[in-house]
Symmetry: C2
Subunit: 292 residues, 2 copies
Protein backbone atom coordinates (compact mmCIF):
# COMPACT_ATOMS: atom_id res chain seq x y z
CA UNK A 1 0.00 0.00 0.00
CA UNK A 2 1.54 3.29 -1.12
CA UNK A 3 -0.68 5.87 0.50
CA UNK A 4 -0.81 9.59 0.75
CA UNK A 5 -2.79 9.56 4.00
CA UNK A 6 -1.42 6.55 5.91
CA UNK A 7 2.18 6.09 4.74
CA UNK A 8 3.46 2.98 2.96
CA UNK A 9 2.86 -0.44 4.44
CA UNK A 10 2.16 -4.08 3.69
CA UNK A 11 -1.35 -5.27 4.51
CA UNK A 12 -1.63 -8.85 5.80
CA UNK A 13 -5.14 -10.12 6.50
CA UNK A 14 -5.63 -12.40 9.48
CA UNK A 15 -7.56 -14.88 7.35
CA UNK A 16 -8.68 -15.22 3.75
CA UNK A 17 -11.45 -17.60 2.70
CA UNK A 18 -12.29 -18.87 -0.77
CA UNK A 19 -16.00 -18.33 -0.17
CA UNK A 20 -18.53 -17.07 2.32
CA UNK A 21 -19.54 -20.68 2.96
CA UNK A 22 -15.93 -21.57 3.85
CA UNK A 23 -15.71 -18.58 6.20
CA UNK A 24 -18.95 -19.58 7.92
CA UNK A 25 -17.86 -23.21 8.27
CA UNK A 26 -14.37 -22.52 9.65
CA UNK A 27 -15.20 -19.74 12.04
CA UNK A 28 -16.43 -20.32 15.57
CA UNK A 29 -19.02 -18.02 17.02
CA UNK A 30 -20.69 -15.11 15.26
CA UNK A 31 -19.35 -12.27 13.15
CA UNK A 32 -19.48 -8.81 14.72
CA UNK A 33 -19.07 -6.79 11.51
CA UNK A 34 -19.46 -7.77 7.86
CA UNK A 35 -18.22 -5.15 5.39
CA UNK A 36 -19.57 -5.31 1.86
CA UNK A 37 -17.39 -3.36 -0.57
CA UNK A 38 -18.30 -5.00 -3.87
CA UNK A 39 -19.73 -3.28 -6.92
CA UNK A 40 -23.49 -3.08 -6.41
CA UNK A 41 -25.12 -5.09 -9.20
CA UNK A 42 -28.58 -6.05 -7.92
CA UNK A 43 -29.73 -6.92 -11.45
CA UNK A 44 -27.03 -9.62 -11.62
CA UNK A 45 -26.27 -10.71 -8.09
CA UNK A 46 -27.92 -10.32 -4.67
CA UNK A 47 -25.05 -9.76 -2.24
CA UNK A 48 -27.44 -9.92 0.72
CA UNK A 49 -28.00 -13.57 -0.20
CA UNK A 50 -24.26 -14.16 -0.60
CA UNK A 51 -23.38 -12.97 2.91
CA UNK A 52 -26.38 -14.64 4.60
CA UNK A 53 -24.37 -17.54 6.16
CA UNK A 54 -22.34 -15.00 8.21
CA UNK A 55 -25.21 -12.91 9.53
CA UNK A 56 -26.67 -13.30 13.00
CA UNK A 57 -29.15 -10.97 14.63
CA UNK A 58 -26.38 -8.84 16.15
CA UNK A 59 -23.93 -8.81 13.25
CA UNK A 60 -23.50 -5.26 11.96
CA UNK A 61 -23.60 -5.08 8.16
CA UNK A 62 -21.51 -2.19 6.78
CA UNK A 63 -22.27 -1.31 3.17
CA UNK A 64 -19.49 0.67 1.46
CA UNK A 65 -21.07 0.96 -1.96
CA UNK A 66 -22.10 3.60 -4.49
CA UNK A 67 -25.60 4.59 -5.48
CA UNK A 68 -28.92 4.78 -3.65
CA UNK A 69 -31.27 2.05 -2.50
CA UNK A 70 -28.35 -0.36 -1.96
CA UNK A 71 -29.50 -1.07 1.61
CA UNK A 72 -33.01 -2.21 0.72
CA UNK A 73 -32.24 -5.88 -0.15
CA UNK A 74 -30.29 -6.26 3.12
CA UNK A 75 -33.06 -4.71 5.18
CA UNK A 76 -35.64 -6.97 3.49
CA UNK A 77 -33.59 -10.13 4.13
CA UNK A 78 -32.43 -9.21 7.65
CA UNK A 79 -35.24 -7.14 9.21
CA UNK A 80 -33.69 -7.01 12.69
CA UNK A 81 -29.99 -6.66 11.83
CA UNK A 82 -28.22 -3.30 12.29
CA UNK A 83 -26.91 -1.76 9.07
CA UNK A 84 -24.30 0.98 8.70
CA UNK A 85 -24.50 2.79 5.38
CA UNK A 86 -21.21 4.21 4.11
CA UNK A 87 -20.05 6.38 1.22
CA UNK A 88 -16.35 6.62 0.47
CA UNK A 89 -14.31 8.83 -1.82
CA UNK A 90 -10.80 7.74 -2.67
CA UNK A 91 -8.45 8.33 -5.55
CA UNK A 92 -6.54 5.07 -5.82
CA UNK A 93 -5.30 2.69 -8.47
CA UNK A 94 -3.70 -0.75 -8.67
CA UNK A 95 -0.28 0.00 -10.15
CA UNK A 96 0.65 -3.66 -10.52
CA UNK A 97 -0.79 -6.85 -9.00
CA UNK A 98 -0.87 -6.35 -5.24
CA UNK A 99 0.42 -2.76 -5.36
CA UNK A 100 -2.24 -0.17 -4.50
CA UNK A 101 -1.41 3.52 -4.77
CA UNK A 102 -3.51 6.22 -3.13
CA UNK A 103 -2.99 9.66 -4.65
CA UNK A 104 -5.11 12.19 -2.82
CA UNK A 105 -7.24 12.56 0.28
CA UNK A 106 -9.87 10.03 1.30
CA UNK A 107 -13.21 10.36 3.02
CA UNK A 108 -15.66 7.91 4.49
CA UNK A 109 -19.12 9.08 5.51
CA UNK A 110 -21.09 6.73 7.75
CA UNK A 111 -24.55 6.68 9.22
CA UNK A 112 -27.10 4.22 10.60
CA UNK A 113 -29.75 2.71 8.33
CA UNK A 114 -33.10 1.53 9.58
CA UNK A 115 -35.51 2.12 6.68
CA UNK A 116 -33.78 5.04 4.96
CA UNK A 117 -36.06 7.64 6.53
CA UNK A 118 -35.06 7.09 10.16
CA UNK A 119 -38.57 6.02 11.09
CA UNK A 120 -38.07 2.31 11.91
CA UNK A 121 -38.15 0.85 15.42
CA UNK A 122 -36.05 2.16 18.28
CA UNK A 123 -34.07 -1.02 18.95
CA UNK A 124 -32.71 -1.08 15.42
CA UNK A 125 -31.93 2.64 15.56
CA UNK A 126 -30.07 2.23 18.85
CA UNK A 127 -28.00 -0.70 17.53
CA UNK A 128 -27.18 1.19 14.33
CA UNK A 129 -26.14 4.33 16.20
CA UNK A 130 -23.93 2.31 18.55
CA UNK A 131 -22.21 0.66 15.58
CA UNK A 132 -21.60 4.03 13.89
CA UNK A 133 -20.15 5.47 17.12
CA UNK A 134 -17.89 2.43 17.57
CA UNK A 135 -16.57 2.64 14.00
CA UNK A 136 -15.93 6.36 14.33
CA UNK A 137 -14.04 5.72 17.58
CA UNK A 138 -11.91 2.87 16.22
CA UNK A 139 -11.09 4.51 12.90
CA UNK A 140 -10.93 8.11 14.08
CA UNK A 141 -9.91 8.74 17.66
CA UNK A 142 -8.18 5.39 18.22
CA UNK A 143 -6.96 4.75 14.67
CA UNK A 144 -5.81 8.24 13.74
CA UNK A 145 -7.77 8.25 10.50
CA UNK A 146 -9.02 11.71 9.62
CA UNK A 147 -12.03 12.37 7.43
CA UNK A 148 -14.39 9.93 9.11
CA UNK A 149 -17.71 11.78 8.84
CA UNK A 150 -20.54 10.69 11.10
CA UNK A 151 -24.12 11.42 10.02
CA UNK A 152 -27.60 10.65 11.17
CA UNK A 153 -29.70 8.39 8.96
CA UNK A 154 -31.24 11.05 6.72
CA UNK A 155 -28.03 13.06 6.37
CA UNK A 156 -26.15 9.97 5.27
CA UNK A 157 -28.79 9.50 2.59
CA UNK A 158 -28.20 13.16 1.63
CA UNK A 159 -24.51 12.33 1.15
CA UNK A 160 -25.51 9.34 -1.02
CA UNK A 161 -27.76 11.51 -3.21
CA UNK A 162 -25.09 14.18 -3.45
CA UNK A 163 -22.47 11.73 -4.64
CA UNK A 164 -25.13 10.32 -6.94
CA UNK A 165 -25.44 13.75 -8.62
CA UNK A 166 -21.86 13.35 -9.79
CA UNK A 167 -21.94 9.62 -10.55
CA UNK A 168 -25.24 9.56 -12.39
CA UNK A 169 -24.26 12.56 -14.51
CA UNK A 170 -20.70 11.52 -15.38
CA UNK A 171 -20.86 7.73 -15.53
CA UNK A 172 -23.57 6.91 -18.08
CA UNK A 173 -22.79 10.00 -20.17
CA UNK A 174 -19.16 8.96 -20.55
CA UNK A 175 -20.27 5.72 -22.23
CA UNK A 176 -23.13 7.14 -24.31
CA UNK A 177 -21.21 10.15 -25.64
CA UNK A 178 -18.60 7.89 -27.23
CA UNK A 179 -16.10 7.24 -24.44
CA UNK A 180 -14.89 10.53 -22.98
CA UNK A 181 -13.41 11.31 -19.56
CA UNK A 182 -14.99 13.75 -17.08
CA UNK A 183 -12.97 16.87 -17.93
CA UNK A 184 -13.22 16.15 -21.66
CA UNK A 185 -17.02 15.99 -21.40
CA UNK A 186 -17.14 19.19 -19.33
CA UNK A 187 -15.20 21.00 -22.07
CA UNK A 188 -18.02 20.36 -24.60
CA UNK A 189 -20.66 23.12 -24.13
CA UNK A 190 -23.70 20.91 -24.90
CA UNK A 191 -22.43 18.03 -22.74
CA UNK A 192 -21.64 20.48 -19.93
CA UNK A 193 -25.20 21.80 -20.09
CA UNK A 194 -26.49 18.22 -20.01
CA UNK A 195 -24.26 17.25 -17.05
CA UNK A 196 -25.38 20.33 -15.11
CA UNK A 197 -28.98 19.48 -16.01
CA UNK A 198 -28.70 15.95 -14.57
CA UNK A 199 -27.16 17.26 -11.35
CA UNK A 200 -29.72 20.04 -11.03
CA UNK A 201 -32.72 17.77 -11.53
CA UNK A 202 -31.49 15.41 -8.80
CA UNK A 203 -30.65 18.30 -6.49
CA UNK A 204 -34.11 19.78 -7.03
CA UNK A 205 -35.78 16.42 -6.32
CA UNK A 206 -33.93 15.58 -3.08
CA UNK A 207 -36.10 17.64 -0.69
CA UNK A 208 -39.24 15.92 -2.02
CA UNK A 209 -37.57 12.52 -1.73
CA UNK A 210 -35.90 12.86 1.68
CA UNK A 211 -38.12 15.51 3.25
CA UNK A 212 -35.14 17.67 4.17
CA UNK A 213 -33.47 20.56 2.34
CA UNK A 214 -30.21 19.82 0.55
CA UNK A 215 -27.43 21.19 2.80
CA UNK A 216 -25.70 24.33 1.52
CA UNK A 217 -22.21 23.02 2.29
CA UNK A 218 -22.41 20.23 -0.29
CA UNK A 219 -20.86 21.34 -3.60
CA UNK A 220 -23.30 22.76 -6.15
CA UNK A 221 -23.38 21.62 -9.81
CA UNK A 222 -21.28 24.54 -11.09
CA UNK A 223 -18.65 23.95 -8.42
CA UNK A 224 -18.58 20.24 -9.26
CA UNK A 225 -18.07 21.07 -12.94
CA UNK A 226 -15.23 23.49 -12.11
CA UNK A 227 -13.56 20.78 -10.05
CA UNK A 228 -14.10 18.37 -12.97
CA UNK A 229 -12.34 20.81 -15.33
CA UNK A 230 -9.16 20.52 -13.27
CA UNK A 231 -9.29 16.73 -12.92
CA UNK A 232 -8.09 15.98 -16.46
CA UNK A 233 -7.52 12.34 -17.30
CA UNK A 234 -10.14 11.00 -14.89
CA UNK A 235 -12.39 8.41 -16.50
CA UNK A 236 -15.54 7.28 -14.69
CA UNK A 237 -15.68 3.69 -13.43
CA UNK A 238 -18.71 2.91 -15.59
CA UNK A 239 -16.73 3.76 -18.73
CA UNK A 240 -13.85 1.54 -17.58
CA UNK A 241 -16.35 -1.26 -16.91
CA UNK A 242 -17.98 -0.77 -20.32
CA UNK A 243 -14.65 -0.81 -22.14
CA UNK A 244 -13.59 -3.94 -20.27
CA UNK A 245 -16.88 -5.69 -21.09
CA UNK A 246 -17.89 -5.83 -17.42
CA UNK A 247 -21.44 -5.18 -16.17
CA UNK A 248 -22.15 -1.58 -15.12
CA UNK A 249 -23.74 -0.32 -11.87
CA UNK A 250 -26.87 0.74 -13.77
CA UNK A 251 -29.46 -0.03 -11.14
CA UNK A 252 -28.00 1.70 -8.08
CA UNK A 253 -26.76 4.72 -10.08
CA UNK A 254 -29.83 5.19 -12.30
CA UNK A 255 -32.62 2.64 -11.89
CA UNK A 256 -33.08 2.97 -8.11
CA UNK A 257 -32.98 6.80 -8.03
CA UNK A 258 -35.51 7.02 -10.88
CA UNK A 259 -37.84 4.57 -9.11
CA UNK A 260 -37.40 6.07 -5.63
CA UNK A 261 -38.09 9.58 -6.98
CA UNK A 262 -41.12 8.34 -8.90
CA UNK A 263 -42.58 6.78 -5.72
CA UNK A 264 -42.35 10.27 -4.21
CA UNK A 265 -44.10 11.77 -7.23
CA UNK A 266 -40.98 13.31 -8.78
CA UNK A 267 -39.80 12.66 -12.33
CA UNK A 268 -36.07 12.67 -13.17
CA UNK A 269 -36.38 13.00 -16.96
CA UNK A 270 -32.72 13.24 -17.96
CA UNK A 271 -31.73 10.41 -15.63
CA UNK A 272 -34.57 8.17 -16.84
CA UNK A 273 -33.48 8.82 -20.44
CA UNK A 274 -29.87 7.88 -19.60
CA UNK A 275 -31.10 4.79 -17.77
CA UNK A 276 -33.32 3.57 -20.61
CA UNK A 277 -30.60 4.10 -23.23
CA UNK A 278 -27.67 2.58 -21.35
CA UNK A 279 -29.70 -0.36 -20.07
CA UNK A 280 -30.70 -1.14 -23.63
CA UNK A 281 -27.15 -0.67 -24.89
CA UNK A 282 -25.91 -3.20 -22.31
CA UNK A 283 -28.65 -5.66 -23.31
CA UNK A 284 -27.82 -5.24 -26.99
CA UNK A 285 -24.14 -5.94 -26.34
CA UNK A 286 -25.01 -8.93 -24.20
CA UNK A 287 -26.80 -10.40 -27.21
CA UNK A 288 -24.04 -9.13 -29.48
CA UNK A 289 -26.51 -7.06 -31.44
CA UNK A 290 -25.28 -3.52 -30.84
CA UNK A 291 -24.29 -1.68 -33.99
CA UNK A 292 -22.62 1.14 -32.04
Amino acid sequence: MQTHSFGDYHFSPTAVYPSVQAAAAESSGTWDYVFVATKALPDINDDSDTIAPLISRDTVIVLIQNGVGVEAPYRARFPGTPIVSAVTVISAEQKSPGVIKQNRWTRISIGPYTDGWGTADDVLARKGNAAVRALAQWWGDSGGIKDVDVHDELDLQMVRWHKLCINSAMNPSAVLCGGRGNADMASDPELRRHLRGVMEEIRAAVPAILGREFPEHLAKPEAILKSTDRNTGARPSMLLDWEAGRPMELEVIMGNPVRIAREKGVELPRLQTLYALLRSLQEMRKHDKSKL
Copy 2:
Protein backbone atom coordinates in the same frame (compact mmCIF):
# COMPACT_ATOMS: atom_id res chain seq x y z
CA MET B 1 -41.97 4.00 -59.83
CA GLN B 2 -44.09 1.25 -58.22
CA THR B 3 -46.63 3.16 -56.20
CA HIS B 4 -49.60 2.36 -54.05
CA SER B 5 -51.20 5.79 -54.58
CA PHE B 6 -50.34 6.69 -58.18
CA GLY B 7 -49.96 3.39 -60.04
CA ASP B 8 -46.74 2.23 -61.71
CA TYR B 9 -44.96 4.52 -64.14
CA HIS B 10 -41.60 5.62 -65.46
CA PHE B 11 -40.52 9.11 -64.44
CA SER B 12 -38.55 11.06 -67.05
CA PRO B 13 -37.33 14.51 -66.02
CA THR B 14 -37.36 17.27 -68.63
CA ALA B 15 -33.78 18.18 -67.79
CA VAL B 16 -31.06 17.06 -65.38
CA TYR B 17 -28.07 19.26 -64.53
CA PRO B 18 -24.80 18.22 -62.93
CA SER B 19 -24.85 21.27 -60.66
CA VAL B 20 -26.88 24.30 -59.68
CA GLN B 21 -24.33 26.46 -61.52
CA ALA B 22 -24.90 24.46 -64.71
CA ALA B 23 -28.67 24.80 -64.35
CA ALA B 24 -28.36 28.56 -63.84
CA ALA B 25 -26.02 28.95 -66.84
CA GLU B 26 -28.08 26.90 -69.31
CA SER B 27 -31.52 28.13 -68.41
CA SER B 28 -33.03 31.26 -69.87
CA GLY B 29 -35.19 33.45 -67.69
CA THR B 30 -35.98 32.92 -64.02
CA TRP B 31 -37.09 29.87 -62.08
CA ASP B 32 -40.67 29.93 -60.78
CA TYR B 33 -40.30 27.19 -58.16
CA VAL B 34 -37.21 25.64 -56.59
CA PHE B 35 -37.90 22.54 -54.51
CA VAL B 36 -35.32 21.56 -51.90
CA ALA B 37 -35.73 17.93 -50.82
CA THR B 38 -32.26 17.17 -49.47
CA LYS B 39 -31.39 16.01 -45.98
CA ALA B 40 -31.13 19.12 -43.81
CA LEU B 41 -27.57 19.29 -42.51
CA PRO B 42 -26.94 22.95 -41.62
CA ASP B 43 -23.88 22.02 -39.56
CA ILE B 44 -22.25 20.62 -42.72
CA ASN B 45 -23.74 22.41 -45.69
CA ASP B 46 -25.84 25.55 -46.25
CA ASP B 47 -28.34 24.60 -48.96
CA SER B 48 -29.58 28.20 -49.16
CA ASP B 49 -26.13 29.10 -50.48
CA THR B 50 -26.15 26.18 -52.92
CA ILE B 51 -29.41 27.21 -54.61
CA ALA B 52 -28.62 30.95 -54.63
CA PRO B 53 -27.78 31.11 -58.41
CA LEU B 54 -31.36 30.05 -59.23
CA ILE B 55 -33.22 32.43 -56.94
CA SER B 56 -34.77 35.65 -58.10
CA ARG B 57 -37.07 37.89 -56.07
CA ASP B 58 -40.18 36.05 -57.33
CA THR B 59 -38.89 32.48 -57.28
CA VAL B 60 -40.87 30.40 -54.79
CA ILE B 61 -38.64 28.23 -52.61
CA VAL B 62 -40.39 25.02 -51.48
CA LEU B 63 -38.65 23.25 -48.59
CA ILE B 64 -39.64 19.58 -48.23
CA GLN B 65 -37.42 18.73 -45.27
CA ASN B 66 -37.66 17.32 -41.76
CA GLY B 67 -37.12 19.13 -38.51
CA VAL B 68 -37.76 22.67 -37.32
CA GLY B 69 -35.94 25.89 -38.07
CA VAL B 70 -35.01 24.66 -41.57
CA GLU B 71 -36.47 27.80 -43.18
CA ALA B 72 -34.36 30.29 -41.20
CA PRO B 73 -31.18 30.23 -43.37
CA TYR B 74 -33.30 30.74 -46.52
CA ARG B 75 -35.21 33.64 -44.99
CA ALA B 76 -31.94 35.23 -43.85
CA ARG B 77 -30.34 34.93 -47.30
CA PHE B 78 -33.46 35.84 -49.33
CA PRO B 79 -35.44 38.29 -47.19
CA GLY B 80 -38.00 39.09 -49.91
CA THR B 81 -38.45 35.69 -51.53
CA PRO B 82 -41.62 33.65 -50.90
CA ILE B 83 -41.07 30.36 -49.10
CA VAL B 84 -43.43 27.39 -48.90
CA SER B 85 -42.70 25.11 -45.97
CA ALA B 86 -43.63 21.45 -46.49
CA VAL B 87 -43.70 18.28 -44.40
CA THR B 88 -44.15 14.95 -46.14
CA VAL B 89 -44.80 11.45 -44.87
CA ILE B 90 -44.13 8.57 -47.23
CA SER B 91 -43.24 4.91 -46.80
CA ALA B 92 -40.97 4.21 -49.74
CA GLU B 93 -37.75 2.41 -50.52
CA GLN B 94 -35.32 2.02 -53.39
CA LYS B 95 -35.65 -1.68 -54.27
CA SER B 96 -32.80 -1.57 -56.78
CA PRO B 97 -31.03 1.31 -58.57
CA GLY B 98 -33.75 3.39 -60.22
CA VAL B 99 -36.65 1.32 -58.85
CA ILE B 100 -38.63 3.14 -56.15
CA LYS B 101 -41.43 1.31 -54.37
CA GLN B 102 -44.10 3.13 -52.36
CA ASN B 103 -45.88 0.88 -49.85
CA ARG B 104 -48.54 2.87 -48.04
CA TRP B 105 -50.31 6.22 -48.14
CA THR B 106 -48.52 9.52 -48.54
CA ARG B 107 -49.20 12.98 -47.23
CA ILE B 108 -47.76 16.40 -47.93
CA SER B 109 -48.61 19.31 -45.65
CA ILE B 110 -47.83 22.77 -47.00
CA GLY B 111 -48.03 26.29 -45.67
CA PRO B 112 -46.51 29.71 -46.28
CA TYR B 113 -43.45 30.85 -44.34
CA THR B 114 -42.67 34.47 -43.62
CA ASP B 115 -40.85 34.46 -40.28
CA GLY B 116 -42.35 31.32 -38.72
CA TRP B 117 -44.85 33.27 -36.61
CA GLY B 118 -46.87 34.76 -39.47
CA THR B 119 -45.95 38.28 -38.42
CA ALA B 120 -43.75 39.41 -41.33
CA ASP B 121 -44.79 41.92 -43.99
CA ASP B 122 -47.99 41.60 -46.02
CA VAL B 123 -46.37 41.37 -49.45
CA LEU B 124 -44.39 38.30 -48.47
CA ALA B 125 -47.46 36.75 -46.82
CA ARG B 126 -49.55 37.34 -49.96
CA LYS B 127 -46.92 35.82 -52.26
CA GLY B 128 -46.52 32.80 -49.97
CA ASN B 129 -50.26 32.20 -49.75
CA ALA B 130 -50.62 32.45 -53.53
CA ALA B 131 -47.85 29.86 -54.01
CA VAL B 132 -49.48 27.49 -51.50
CA ARG B 133 -52.87 27.83 -53.25
CA ALA B 134 -51.27 27.24 -56.66
CA LEU B 135 -49.47 24.08 -55.48
CA ALA B 136 -52.64 22.75 -53.86
CA GLN B 137 -54.54 23.38 -57.10
CA TRP B 138 -51.93 21.74 -59.37
CA TRP B 139 -51.28 18.73 -57.16
CA GLY B 140 -54.77 18.28 -55.78
CA ASP B 141 -57.70 19.40 -57.89
CA SER B 142 -55.81 19.35 -61.22
CA GLY B 143 -53.36 16.53 -60.49
CA GLY B 144 -55.66 14.13 -58.66
CA ILE B 145 -53.27 13.75 -55.76
CA LYS B 146 -55.12 13.22 -52.48
CA ASP B 147 -53.68 14.08 -49.09
CA VAL B 148 -52.39 17.54 -49.94
CA ASP B 149 -53.00 19.41 -46.68
CA VAL B 150 -53.01 23.18 -46.77
CA HIS B 151 -52.21 25.09 -43.58
CA ASP B 152 -51.67 28.64 -42.49
CA GLU B 153 -48.17 29.59 -41.36
CA LEU B 154 -48.50 28.74 -37.67
CA ASP B 155 -50.43 25.52 -38.29
CA LEU B 156 -47.77 24.29 -40.68
CA GLN B 157 -45.23 24.89 -37.91
CA MET B 158 -47.54 22.86 -35.63
CA VAL B 159 -47.32 20.00 -38.14
CA ARG B 160 -43.52 20.32 -38.13
CA TRP B 161 -43.37 20.18 -34.31
CA HIS B 162 -45.79 17.26 -34.26
CA LYS B 163 -43.69 15.24 -36.70
CA LEU B 164 -40.67 16.32 -34.66
CA CYS B 165 -42.20 14.62 -31.59
CA ILE B 166 -41.85 11.31 -33.42
CA ASN B 167 -38.53 11.98 -35.14
CA SER B 168 -36.70 13.44 -32.18
CA ALA B 169 -37.87 10.61 -29.92
CA MET B 170 -37.24 7.69 -32.26
CA ASN B 171 -34.22 8.78 -34.29
CA PRO B 172 -31.50 9.59 -31.75
CA SER B 173 -32.71 6.91 -29.33
CA ALA B 174 -32.39 4.21 -31.99
CA VAL B 175 -28.68 4.99 -32.30
CA LEU B 176 -27.91 5.56 -28.60
CA CYS B 177 -29.76 2.47 -27.33
CA GLY B 178 -27.58 0.17 -29.41
CA GLY B 179 -29.28 0.09 -32.82
CA ARG B 180 -32.91 -0.91 -32.42
CA GLY B 181 -35.91 -0.25 -34.66
CA ASN B 182 -39.00 1.71 -33.58
CA ALA B 183 -41.25 -1.20 -32.56
CA ASP B 184 -38.34 -2.97 -30.86
CA MET B 185 -37.65 0.12 -28.75
CA ALA B 186 -41.33 0.54 -27.90
CA SER B 187 -41.40 -3.06 -26.59
CA ASP B 188 -38.81 -2.20 -23.89
CA PRO B 189 -40.67 -0.68 -20.90
CA GLU B 190 -37.94 1.80 -19.91
CA LEU B 191 -37.32 2.91 -23.50
CA ARG B 192 -41.08 3.25 -24.04
CA ARG B 193 -41.29 5.52 -21.00
CA HIS B 194 -38.36 7.54 -22.33
CA LEU B 195 -39.88 7.83 -25.84
CA ARG B 196 -43.21 8.97 -24.38
CA GLY B 197 -41.31 11.43 -22.18
CA VAL B 198 -39.56 13.03 -25.17
CA MET B 199 -42.85 13.37 -27.05
CA GLU B 200 -44.65 14.74 -24.00
CA GLU B 201 -42.04 17.36 -23.22
CA ILE B 202 -42.16 18.67 -26.80
CA ARG B 203 -45.96 18.58 -26.84
CA ALA B 204 -46.09 20.48 -23.55
CA ALA B 205 -43.64 23.11 -24.86
CA VAL B 206 -45.35 23.82 -28.19
CA PRO B 207 -48.00 26.28 -26.91
CA ALA B 208 -45.25 28.39 -25.28
CA ILE B 209 -43.16 28.23 -28.46
CA LEU B 210 -45.85 28.86 -31.09
CA GLY B 211 -48.40 30.72 -29.00
CA ARG B 212 -51.20 28.38 -30.05
CA GLU B 213 -52.61 25.24 -28.42
CA PHE B 214 -51.57 21.93 -29.94
CA PRO B 215 -54.54 20.72 -32.04
CA GLU B 216 -56.48 17.78 -30.60
CA HIS B 217 -56.63 15.93 -33.91
CA LEU B 218 -52.85 15.36 -34.05
CA ALA B 219 -51.96 11.94 -32.61
CA LYS B 220 -51.00 11.92 -28.92
CA PRO B 221 -47.85 10.16 -27.64
CA GLU B 222 -49.69 7.01 -26.54
CA ALA B 223 -51.41 6.71 -29.93
CA ILE B 224 -48.07 7.22 -31.69
CA LEU B 225 -46.54 4.44 -29.58
CA LYS B 226 -49.45 2.10 -30.36
CA SER B 227 -48.98 2.77 -34.07
CA THR B 228 -45.24 2.16 -33.59
CA ASP B 229 -45.98 -1.24 -32.01
CA ARG B 230 -47.64 -2.38 -35.24
CA ASN B 231 -44.94 -1.03 -37.54
CA THR B 232 -42.42 -3.81 -36.87
CA GLY B 233 -39.23 -3.72 -38.87
CA ALA B 234 -39.19 0.07 -39.34
CA ARG B 235 -35.79 1.57 -38.60
CA PRO B 236 -35.43 5.34 -38.28
CA SER B 237 -33.45 7.18 -40.94
CA MET B 238 -30.92 8.44 -38.41
CA LEU B 239 -30.03 4.87 -37.48
CA LEU B 240 -29.60 3.96 -41.15
CA ASP B 241 -27.39 7.04 -41.60
CA TRP B 242 -25.34 6.16 -38.51
CA GLU B 243 -24.83 2.57 -39.63
CA ALA B 244 -23.80 3.72 -43.10
CA GLY B 245 -21.34 6.25 -41.66
CA ARG B 246 -23.32 9.20 -43.07
CA PRO B 247 -23.89 12.45 -41.17
CA MET B 248 -27.14 12.59 -39.16
CA GLU B 249 -29.79 15.35 -39.16
CA LEU B 250 -28.83 16.34 -35.61
CA GLU B 251 -29.36 20.07 -35.84
CA VAL B 252 -32.86 20.25 -37.34
CA ILE B 253 -34.17 17.29 -35.29
CA MET B 254 -32.55 18.22 -31.94
CA GLY B 255 -30.31 21.30 -31.95
CA ASN B 256 -32.82 23.76 -33.46
CA PRO B 257 -35.80 22.66 -31.32
CA VAL B 258 -33.72 22.88 -28.13
CA ARG B 259 -32.48 26.37 -29.06
CA ILE B 260 -35.88 27.64 -30.28
CA ALA B 261 -37.57 26.39 -27.09
CA ARG B 262 -34.86 27.94 -24.95
CA GLU B 263 -35.35 31.34 -26.64
CA LYS B 264 -38.97 31.08 -25.53
CA GLY B 265 -37.92 30.24 -21.98
CA VAL B 266 -38.75 26.52 -22.18
CA GLU B 267 -36.30 23.72 -21.40
CA LEU B 268 -36.50 20.38 -23.25
CA PRO B 269 -34.35 18.33 -20.87
CA ARG B 270 -34.64 14.88 -22.47
CA LEU B 271 -34.09 16.27 -25.96
CA GLN B 272 -31.09 18.34 -24.88
CA THR B 273 -29.58 15.24 -23.28
CA LEU B 274 -30.09 13.25 -26.50
CA TYR B 275 -28.61 16.11 -28.52
CA ALA B 276 -25.50 16.48 -26.36
CA LEU B 277 -24.82 12.73 -26.34
CA LEU B 278 -25.38 12.02 -30.03
CA ARG B 279 -23.55 15.13 -31.17
CA SER B 280 -20.55 14.03 -29.12
CA LEU B 281 -20.82 10.46 -30.39
CA GLN B 282 -20.73 11.74 -33.98
CA GLU B 283 -17.70 13.92 -33.19
CA MET B 284 -15.92 11.02 -31.54
CA ARG B 285 -16.49 8.80 -34.55
CA LYS B 286 -15.36 11.55 -36.90
CA HIS B 287 -12.04 11.57 -35.07
CA ASP B 288 -12.14 7.80 -34.81
CA LYS B 289 -12.03 7.96 -31.04
CA SER B 290 -15.32 6.36 -30.09
CA LYS B 291 -14.99 3.25 -27.98
CA LEU B 292 -18.65 2.34 -28.39
